[in-house]
Amino acid sequence: MSRDQTDDSRPSGAAPAAPASDPLADELRALREVAPPASLVARVMTQVATPQPFSLWRWLRRPIRFEVRLSALTVLATGLVLTVGATALVRGARSSSPVNLAARGEVAAPVGARDSEAEPVLVRFVFEAHGARRVAVAGSFNAWKEQVLTLEDGASDGPSAGVFVTTLAVPRGTHEYMFVVDGRWIADPLATERRPDGFGRQNSLLRL
């Protein structure tokens, strides 16, 4: 039984390269000489020729075969196209980043405008009322909730005496507002536009 030490690559069924000296090996090899049943081929072929009933599971497991044949030239051309495409994509991605956009004036301008439209505008409300104890502002921008103004520091007879101020972030658009001075609703005397409030008075108009 030294056959396996000589040639493992020999095709099955081929004659041994060297005669085996072991009688047991010969006897074992002789056991392969058996005759399959004469009807085996016919029985198998009858079975395989009979169409099987449809099985969804078998159909789902059925592999989908497709073949791709490429020449070396096609592979090279495809590789080149992919490389160029990938490079363009990378460059495009870099140029579309916010940092780069900001650096480029022509693109930054509309982006800045779009951003500023969405952002609220800081509006400084000023009301001069000598002797008033409390001044607030209320409008459509803060759901008509009184927002108290602060009395600016300054000498009682200086230019800023009796001046109440506050700075609010107001969304862009058109807003109506009023000052509330010691409980009395007063339209902004400095407002350029006013609109009737429906109760016989007028609200100041602020366009942003």
Binding site: D8, L24, L28, V34, Q52
Partner: protein, 224 residues
């Protein structure tokens, strides 16, 4: 069967020698190419293209099943069912450019189905119907000398019985290697075991077989 330490040492030495032998890769042949075409035809719906494959491998498939099971009727059933299983699974078969891919795949089905039968019979504790030495067995040699024929037949029956007495995991490698004369590459593809494991099993299986045959040999000698 108990093995003494000396025997184990000898096994390891043999295995080392075998492992050092070159394992040259099998070559893709025109036969592989033809089988690939036949399989493609089968998958395309031409069931008749399967016939040459059945004719080509029926002997080998049947012999492996017979030597594994020892029962001709079981071997017939297993062989037939293995071919049908193979046909039904041809769509999933991939040769991946491996030589003799179909035959090793088919034999894997045969071996696995044979093992299933052995397990099933062991579970139900039914003794195997071993009739390999019956009238249906076809012998390799048909000597003209009747005495030699009788002696050869007796020796063969003893060998068949001894082979069936070898545990299944050793018997399968012995059948594939020494009976069917397959290469270790092919056996690896069939059993999906490392070649070193296969070589160890072959060496041990041969030792088991010899040990099983030894008393017979002694008896034979005494008779002479």
């Amino acid at each position: 069967m108990a093995l003494n330490p000396d025997q184990s040492g000898a096994f390891l030495a043999n295995v080392t020698n075998v492992a050092n032998a070159g394992n040259v890769a099998l070559a893709w042949t025109a036969r592989d190419e033809e089988e690939r075409r036949l399989i493609a035809s089968c998958v395309a719906g031409d069931a008749e293209a399967f016939r040459p494959l059945v004719i080509r491998y029926q002997r080998q498939a049947f012999a492996v099943a017979l030597r594994m099971l020892g029962s001709r009727s079981d071997a017939e059933d297993i062989t037939q069912q293995s071919f049908i299983d193979a046909f039904n699974a041809l769509e999933r078969f991939r040769d991946d450019g491996r030589p003799r891919a179909f035959s090793t795949w088919l034999l894997r089905i045969v071996v696995n189905r044979s093992k299933d039968v052995l397990k099933s019979k062991r579970r139900t504790e039914q003794p195997l119907e071993r009739d390999v030495a019956g009238a249906d067995a076809v012998f390799a040699h048909d000597p003209s000398d009747p005495e030699a024929h009788a002696s050869g037949g007796q020796r063969r029956r003893r060998l068949e019985a001894a082979l069936l007495a070898v545990p299944a995991k050793y018997r399968e490698v012995l059948v594939l290697k020494d009976v069917e004369d397959l290469s270790y590459e092919e056996i690896r593809a069939i059993l999906r075991l490392p070649i070193t494991t296969l070589k160890i099993r072959v060496v041990r299986a041969r030792a088991m077989l010899r040990a099983l045959l030894e008393p017979d040999a002694e008896t034979e000698g005494e008779l002479r």
